[in-house]
């Protein structure tokens, strides 16, 4: 892992409770997901046993009752010793000793092309005047399947919780996502690990199964994922949501199926998935029941048939060949397509796949939009951008590049309290987000979590509204790449956005995407 050895851990022994009274406190050893601290059971003394394993998440500092811990980055060593950094050396040693490659949770570490080198272009005198965020309206709604389904799915804000499975996440985290969606009118997603019955009514805003009285307005929607492991899937399952999502891939591990390590396969998870307690659930990387593009089309048609043409059918793609893949989803009959970029999060994946496989999100959106335009379905078949979206600024940029909505996976975990320690696969998440253990799960209250998530969505919605209106629009559907400029050549080359100062796209983009790649129409 790229961050091993990048942090210095220091404990102020003058205030550390354990240093004063050995045996009295071992909080840091209990909460650290990476075994940095160890308690000597004989003497009761706590020691920093494995300081190089620190990943800089600062969970210990948060939990330390005496506020005695400081974590400082040691990055200069990192630059001077590159490419044989401490973490590169440690990784080779780990493999040499164990014969095993690294697994971890969360998204890509380190810099990759992202939204930060894009700036938003505000309105002044020459363009459409800005709209007044405080006193004027802004349309933020997105409707999926408006022309194709009997019950289109309505998002009150252009956001979704992307697929995160029960198993990868705790039950409490799943329920918090459902409640957060209900409070804000967005959609939650079962992920590939089956449905928790509570998700059905919580996501729609009802506190209990009878659905007598709505507790959370406006109520949200539920997407049920149809994936390669087909965990917990039945005719009833596909009919229990407001949309069915066909998973082809995801950003953190495109070309591979879901990973759930045995440590997280508890009785409850094993029941939903139908696998032995404690065994690894490794989903197939592709559909055993699809061999050709025609099969894929037939799959969409029987899913529509079994759901009586009521609900939209969504597709979820990993970042591979965005133009051709999006075109194939359109041909298969998608009502919306999510495309997840390189940095997209995961509950567990081989480190090298998360780090080194896939196209950055900013380079996925323009070809995806081009494919939608070439098929004449842009803004009809909705595009949902995923992967590395942290706030309203990232969301706005993705939408101005052409996405209709965005999803927050990692950001949702962070909104629930996560401090990005990369240990989601181990099942020891101290906040009970990605853990299946009772003691950790008890720390996460689904309603409180739902409120935090709803707050995050509301604030982010306001951020997107500010940016939409200051650039002269009163609907997110009117955003366009003209609202953005690239601030460096790299970003301009990857995206085709106009380069700030130059006020034109780079010459190779002058004929649009077709001129650059040979794909698509002018």
């Amino acid at each position: 892992m790229g961050v091993v050895g990048a942090f210095c851990v220091s404990v102020n022994r003058e205030i550390c409770i354990n240093a004063q009274m050995p045996g009295k406190c071992a909080t840091c050893a209990e909460v650290c997901p990476h075994g940095v601290y160890a308690l000597d059971v004989e003497t009761g003394q706590m020691q920093i046993q494995n300081f190089n394993a620190c990943v800089g998440c600062r969970i210990c500092a948060e939990f330390c009752p005496a506020n005695a811990i400081r974590i400082n980055p040691a990055e200069s060593e990192y630059i001077s010793r590159y490419p044989w950094t401490f973490s590169a050396i440690e990784e080779v040693h780990h493999k040499a000793q164990t014969g095993e490659y690294l697994l971890r949770g969360f998204g890509t570490q380190g810099p990759t092309p992202n939204f930060d080198m894009i700036t938003v272009v505000p309105s002044q005198i020459a363009s459409e005047a800005p709209r007044d965020k405080y006193r004027e309206e802004c349309n933020m709604q997105v409707i999926i399947g408006e022309d194709t389904c009997e019950k289109p799915m309505i998002l009150k804000l252009p956001f979704v919780w992307p697929a995160m499975s029960f198993g990868a996440l705790s039950k409490e985290a799943k329920l918090a996502l459902a409640i957060g969606a209900a409070m804000t009118g967005i959609a939650t997603n079962t992920g590939e690990g089956g449905l928790l019955p509570e998700e059905m009514w919580l996501s729609r805003g009802y506190a209990d199964e009878k659905r007598k009285q709505k507790k959370w307005e406006p109520g949200g929607s539920l997407v049920v994922q149809w994936s390669t492991g087909r965990w917990g899937v039945s005719a009833e399952y596909v009919n229990s949501g407001d949309a069915v999502e066909v998973k082809i891939g995801q950003g953190a591990k495109p070309g591979m199926g879901g990973h759930l390590l045995g440590a997280k396969v508890t009785e409850a998870v094993s029941e939903v998935r139908g696998i032995p307690v404690g065994s690894d659930a490794l989903s197939p990387c592709r559909y055993y029941d699809v061999q050709t593009m025609d099969d894929m089309k037939h799959m969409v048609s029987f899913l529509r048939d079994v759901t009586e043409h009521k609900f939209p059918i969504l597709f979820k793609l990993g970042p591979s060949r965005p133009y051709a893949d999006v075109a194939a989803c359109i041909e298969a009959g998608a009502d919306a397509i999510s495309i997840d970029g390189l940095v997209g999060g995961t509950g567990c994946s081989p480190d090298l796949v998360t780090q080194g496989v896939g196209i950055p999100t900013i380079a996925c959106i323009p070809p995806a939009v081009q494919a939608l335009k070439d098929y004449g379905v842009y803004r009809k078949v909705k595009l949902i951008a995923l992967g590395g979206i942290r706030n309203g600024l990232d969301a706005f940029k993705a939408m101005a590049m052409g996405a209709d909505a965005v999803g927050f996976g990692s950001a949702a975990e962070v909104a629930l309290g996560c401090r990005v320690c990369y240990a989601c696969h181990k099942g020891n998440c101290p906040y009970g987000i990605t853990s299946q253990k009772e003691e950790f799960r008890a720390r996460l209250d689904p309603v409180e979590g739902g409120e935090r998530l709803a707050n995050f969505i509301r604030a982010t919605g306001e951020e997107v509204k500010i940016l939409t209106m200051l650039s002269g629009h009163s609907s997110i559907a009117d955003l366009s790449p003209e609202d953005l400029r690239a601030m460096d050549l790299n970003t301009a080359a990857l995206t085709g956005l106009k380069l700030a100062g130059f006020e034109r796209p780079l010459p190779m983009w002058e004929d649009g995407f077709v001129g650059v790649s040979g794909n698509g129409k002018k």
Binding site: R230, S234, S279, L282, D289, F302, D305, V306
Partner: protein
């Protein structure tokens, strides 16, 4: 018996008519070999497909009984959770994949990847199965009266696989076990129930070597 002629009709039309007719007794469907997803998601009723059926016959079946008088295409009974599907002829690739329950009987031969990721159904093939049958099976029974191809029962996790004939090669994580009286009783019942002329005494049983095989 009510008859639906599926000739040049769309899936929606045929399945819609079928669902409407189910309460009035068995329904017969003819000319259905080009329809994929016929009788999807049924939760009750009885359907007879006169002739051959296309791909994804009875996908997501959750209680219907479906009989095909000739052959079936790929992915028969895909992701079924309950019900019975009987193919009197042969079935192509991937019979009974991802099933949680119910019974599939193929009187002829079945193709590659039969019963892949079976999670609880009973899948009986009176003839031979192709390669990779029983891959990553997690529960349920696979009974092959004839022979199996390469990599039989690969990465079996749970459930029982019975075979009357031979296999070309056996997959990972498998071990042979002798049949118990209970196994023989179970197989006899299956054969009797579906009118198959087979004798369980010569059968071999394959189970998983470990519930938690190590993967690389």
């Amino acid at each position: 018996m009510k008859t639906i002629d599926a000739k040049s009709k769309e899936l929606r039309e045929v399945n819609g008519a079928l669902r409407e007719s189910l309460n009035g007794g068995p329904v017969e469907i003819k000319n259905a070999e080009d329809l994929h997803g016929l009788a999807a998601g049924l939760n009750r009723g009885e359907v007879v497909v006169r002739g051959s059926a296309g791909d994804y016959l009875g996908v997501l079946n959750s209680g219907g009984t479906i009989r095909v008088t000739k052959n079936a295409g790929k992915y028969v009974a895909d992701n079924m959770t309950d019900g019975v599907i009987i193919i009197e002829g042969n079935a192509d690739y991937g019979v009974g994949q991802y099933c949680y329950g119910g019974t599939v009987v193929v009187h002829g031969n079945a193709g590659d990847f039969t019963a892949t990721m079976n999670k609880g159904a009973t899948i009986i093939v009176n003839g031979d199965v192709g390669d990779e049958a029983g891959t990553y099976m997690l529960a349920g029974d696979l009974v092959v009266v004839g022979n199996a191809g390469e990599n039989f029962a690969n990465y079996l996790i749970r459930g029982d696989i019975y075979i009357g004939g031979e296999w070309k090669s056996l997959g990972h994580n498998t071990k042979l076990k002798s049949l118990t009286k209970k196994d023989i009783g179970k197989l006899e019942k299956y054969f009797e129930a579906h009118g198959l002329d087979a004798d369980p005494t010569g059968f071999k049983k394959i189970v998983a070597a470990s519930e938690k095989p190590f993967y690389h």
